[in-house]
C-alpha cells in the first residue's frame, strides 16, 4: 500500500495537499494565502514528476498506471493548473470573487484529471471524470450574481450529467460483454472470447462520454455558452486541462483495447468523420463570432478536431502527436485567455472591436496576444505549427491523407479569425481603450508562456522525444 502511494506520488501529494488547502482556508480565510499554497501544490506535483522516477507498471492492483505516459499527462494538467492560478488573482479581485474556494476546487479538479490520465481501470476513469466535472461545474458558476455564469453552470451540469449517463452505461455494457473493468484484462477477454456487438455499443457510449468532454461535433454545443458565461480564467482551465484529460483517457482506452479489436478501421473511420465535422463546424462558426471568448470556444472545438485527427490515425505517432498538441494547446490557450482576463472589465470588453489599437496603449499585451493568435493559427515558428504538423503527419502515415488535407484546409480558414484580432490590435485606431489589469505574477506568467510557445516551435525535438517516449513505453 505504501509502495502504491509512492508509485503514484503526484496523486498522493495532490490528495494530501487538498486537505492542507481546505484546512488553511477554513481557519485562516485568506484567499491570497490559499492561492500561493495552491501554486506551491502544483509546483510540488511538477517537481515530483521530474524528481521521482516512476517505473512502468501498475499501482493499486490494476487501478492506475505508472510510468512515462502518466508523467507526461500529469505534467500537462499541473502546468495548466499552475498557469491558470498565476493569471487568476487580479481577475478574481476585479470580478469580486477572490475566494479561496476557487483555488481549492481548481486543485481538486486537477486530481480528477490526474486520475483520468493514469487510469488503468474503467471505474477509475469514471471517478476521475466525475471529480473533474463536478469541480468544473462549480467553477463555471463561480460568479454567483451573474446570470450568464449561472446559466453556464446549469447547462454544463445538465448536459455533462447527460453525457456521464451514457458514459456509465457504456462501462456497464462493456462489463456485461467482458466481465472485466480493468483495461488490460478487458483486452485479454476480448482476445479469448471475441468481440460482441454488445461490446461495440458499450465502447461507442464510452466514446461519446469522452467526445462530449473534448467538445467534438455534435456533442459540442455546450462549449460556447459555458466558456462565455464562466469566469474567463475558469474557461481557460476548462478548455485546456479538462480537454487534455479527456484525450489522455481516450488514448489509454483505445491503445489498450485496439490490439484486441479485429476491425480497427471502423473505429478509425468514425473518428475521422467526427474529426472532419468538428474541424469544419468549429472553424466555420468561429468566423462569425465577435466575442473573443466565444471565438476561443469555437476555436477550442476546432483544436479538438485537430487532435481527433491524431486519434483517428490510431498509431503511436498519432497518440504522441496528440499529447504534444495537448501540451502546446494548453500553453497557448491559457495565454490567450489570460490576455482577455487582463483586459476584461465586469464581463465586458471582450469583443474583438474592443481591442482596436491595443498596440498603441499596451504594446506588450498586444504583442503577447499576437504570439498566441499566431500559434493558435498554427503559423511557424510557433509551437502550434509543430503540433499540427505532428498530428497531420501521423494521419498521412496511417493512410488518411485526405483527412490531413481537410485539416490543413480547416487551419487555413482558422487564420482568418485569429488574424482578425491581430489586425484590430495593430492596425485600427485606438478607442478609449481599457486599462490593463495585470500584476507582476500574471504578466510574468504570460511572457513566460509566450517564450515557451516560441521555443517549442523552434526547438521541438526534446519535447517531441518525451511525447514519443511516453507512447512507446506505455504501449508494448
Amino acid at each position: 500500500m505504501l509502495n502504491d502511494l509512492l508509485l503514484t506520488l503526484p496523486i498522493t501529494i495532490a490528495t494530501v495537499w487538498v486537505l492542507v488547502l481546505i484546512l488553511c482556508e477554513a481557519f485562516v480565510h485568506n484567499a491570497n494565502l490559499t492561492r500561493w499554497l495552491t501554486a506551491i501544490g502544483f509546483a510540488g506535483i511538477i517537481a515530483s514528476i521530474f524528481l521521482i522516477p516512476s517505473p512502468e507498471g501498475y499501482a493499486y492492483g490494476t487501478m492506475l498506471r505508472t510510468g512515462t505516459f502518466t508523467n507526461f499527462s500529469n505534467f500537462i494538467f499541473a502546468v495548466s493548473g499552475l498557469l491558470v492560478v498565476s493569471i487568476s488573482d487580479k481577475y478574481l479581485e476585479e470580478e469580486e470573487i477572490n475566494f479561496g474556494e476557487y483555488y481549492i476546487i481548481l486543485f481538486i479538479s486537477t486530481i480528477g484529471m490526474m486520475l483520468m490520465g493514469s487510469a488503468a481501470n474503467l471505474s477509475v476513469i469514471f471517478i476521475g471524470l466525475e471529480t473533474m466535472s463536478v469541480a468544473l461545474y462549480t467553477l463555471a458558476g463561480m460568479l454567483r450574481k451573474d446570470v450568464r455564469s449561472n446559466e453556464a453552470a446549469m447547462k454544463y451540469f445538465l448536459l455533462g450529467s447527460f453525457a456521464t449517463g451514457f458514459f456509465l452505461y457504456g462501462i456497464a455494457l462493456i462489463y456485461g460483454a467482458t466481465g472485466e473493468l480493468a483495461l488490460p484484462r478487458i483486452a485479454a477477454s476480448l482476445q479469448t472470447n471475441g468481440v460482441s456487438t454488445l461490446f461495440w455499443i458499450g465502447l461507442s457510449l464510452l466514446m461519446i462520454g469522452f467526445l462530449f468532454k473534448v467538445s467534438a461535433v455534435p456533442f459540442h454545443q455546450w462549449t460556447p455558452d459555458v466558456y462565455e458565461g464562466s469566469p474567463t480564467t475558469a474557461a481557460a482551465f476548462m478548455s485546456t486541462g479538462s480537454k487534455a484529460a479527456a484525450f489522455s483517457s481516450l488514448i489509454i482506452v483505445l491503445s489498450n483495447i485496439s490490439i484486441a479489436l479485429p476491425n480497427n478501421a471502423v473505429l478509425q473511420t468514425a473518428f475521422a468523420y467526427i474529426a472532419v465535422a468538428t474541424m469544419a463546424v468549429g472553424n466555420i462558426t468561429a468566423l462569425t463570432q465577435d466575442n473573443l471568448k466565444r471565438m476561443l470556444a469555437y476555436s477550442s472545438i476546432a483544436h479538438a478536431g485537430y487532435m481527433l485527427v491524431g486519434i483517428a490515425a490510431g498509431s503511436n505517432e498519432g497518440y504522441s502527436g496528440v499529447l504534444y498538441y495537448a501540451l502546446i494547446y494548453t500553453l497557448m490557450n491559457v495565454g490567450a485567455f489570460g490576455v482577455i482576463a487582463v483586459l476584461e472589465r465586469h464581463r465586458t470588453l471582450t469583443n474583438a472591436s474592443d481591442y482596436a489599437g491595443l498596440f498603441k496603449q499596451h504594446p506588450l499585451l498586444a504583442g503577447l496576444m499576437a504570439v498566441f493568435m499566431f500559434s493558435l493559427a498554427g503559423l511557424p515558428p510557433f509551437g502550434g505549427f509543430v503540433g499540427k504538423y505532428k498530428v497531420f503527419a501521423a494521419a498521412v502515415e496511417a493512410d488518411l491523407t485526405w483527412l490531413a488535407i481537410v485539416g490543413v484546409l480547416a487551419s487555413v480558414v482558422s487564420v482568418y479569425y485569429y488574424l482578425r484580432v491581430v489586425i484590430f490590435m495593430f492596425m485600427r485606431d485606438p478607442e478609449p481603450a481599457p486599462q490593463a489589469n495585470a500584476n507582476a505574477t500574471g504578466s510574468f506568467a504570460l511572457v513566460a508562456i509566450a517564450v515557451i510557445v516560441f521555443l517549442m516551435g523552434i526547438f521541438p525535438t526534446e519535447v517531441l522525444k518525451l511525447a514519443d517516449n511516453a507512447m512507446k513505453v506505455a504501449l508494448k
Binding site: N32, Y60, F99, I108, V134, T138, G194, L198
Partner: protein, 177 residues
C-alpha cells in the same frame, strides 16, 4: 416454488414498472409524477431481488426512494408553497421524443436478443445467499482507490454547494481583508 409462480411475479412487477413509468411521463400534475416514480423505483428494486442482487436492491431503495425521491418531493412542495402556483408540466416535442426513445429501444432490444454474447456464469458459481459480504470485501480491497476517491467527489460537491448557497462575503484584495 415453481417457475410459473416466478413468471407471474416477474410480470406483475414488470407491469408495475411500466405502468408507473408511463404515469410519470403522461401525468400533468408533477406530484402525481413523483409518486409514479416511487412505484417505478420499488418495482426495479424488486427485479433486482429477483436477480439475486440483494445489495443493489437495497441500495436502490435507500438512494432513490430514500434520497432522491424525497428530495424531489420536498423541492416540489417547497417551491409550490413559495410561488402559490400549481406546478404543471406540458408534454413537449412528443414526436421527436418518441422517435428517439423508440429507436434507442429498438437498438437495445436488437442487440440484447441477437448480437450480445452475454458472459454466462456456470450454475455452480452462481451467487447464493447474500452478496453484501463479497461486495464489501471487494470495496475495501480491490476497489479501495475508487472508493476513497469518491470521498473527494463528495467533498468537492459539498464545497461547491456551500460556495454557491452561502451568504455574501467581502472580497479580499491583495492587501488582506
Amino acid at each position: 416454488m415453481n417457475s410459473l409462480a416466478y413468471q407471474i411475479i416477474f410480470y406483475l412487477f414488470a407491469a408495475i414498472i411500466v405502468g408507473s413509468a408511463a404515469l410519470v411521463v403522461i401525468s400533468k400534475n408533477i406530484i402525481h409524477s413523483a409518486f409514479g416514480l416511487l412505484f417505478t423505483f420499488f418495482g426495479v428494486a424488486a427485479i433486482y431481488v429477483y436477480l439475486n442482487a440483494d445489495f443493489i436492491a437495497v441500495t436502490q431503495i435507500v438512494v432513490y426512494v430514500g434520497g432522491i425521491l424525497v428530495l424531489l418531493l420536498f423541492g416540489v412542495m417547497l417551491t409550490n408553497k413559495i410561488t402559490q402556483a400549481d406546478l404543471k408540466t406540458e408534454t413537449l416535442n412528443p414526436v421527436p421524443g418518441l422517435l428517439i426513445t423508440l429507436s434507442v429501444l429498438a437498438m437495445l432490444l436488437y442487440t440484447f436478443y441477437f448480437r450480445a454474447k452475454w458472459v454466462t456464469v456456470p450454475v455452480d458459481q452462481q451467487l447464493r445467499g447474500t452478496v453484501v459480504e463479497p461486495i464489501g470485501i471487494a470495496t475495501m480491497t480491490t476497489y479501495v482507490l475508487p472508493f476513497e476517491i469518491v470521498s473527494i467527489v463528495l467533498m468537492v460537491a459539498l464545497l461547491g454547494a456551500a460556495y454557491i448557497a452561502r451568504a455574501d462575503r467581502k472580497v479580499q484584495t491583495k492587501e488582506g481583508k
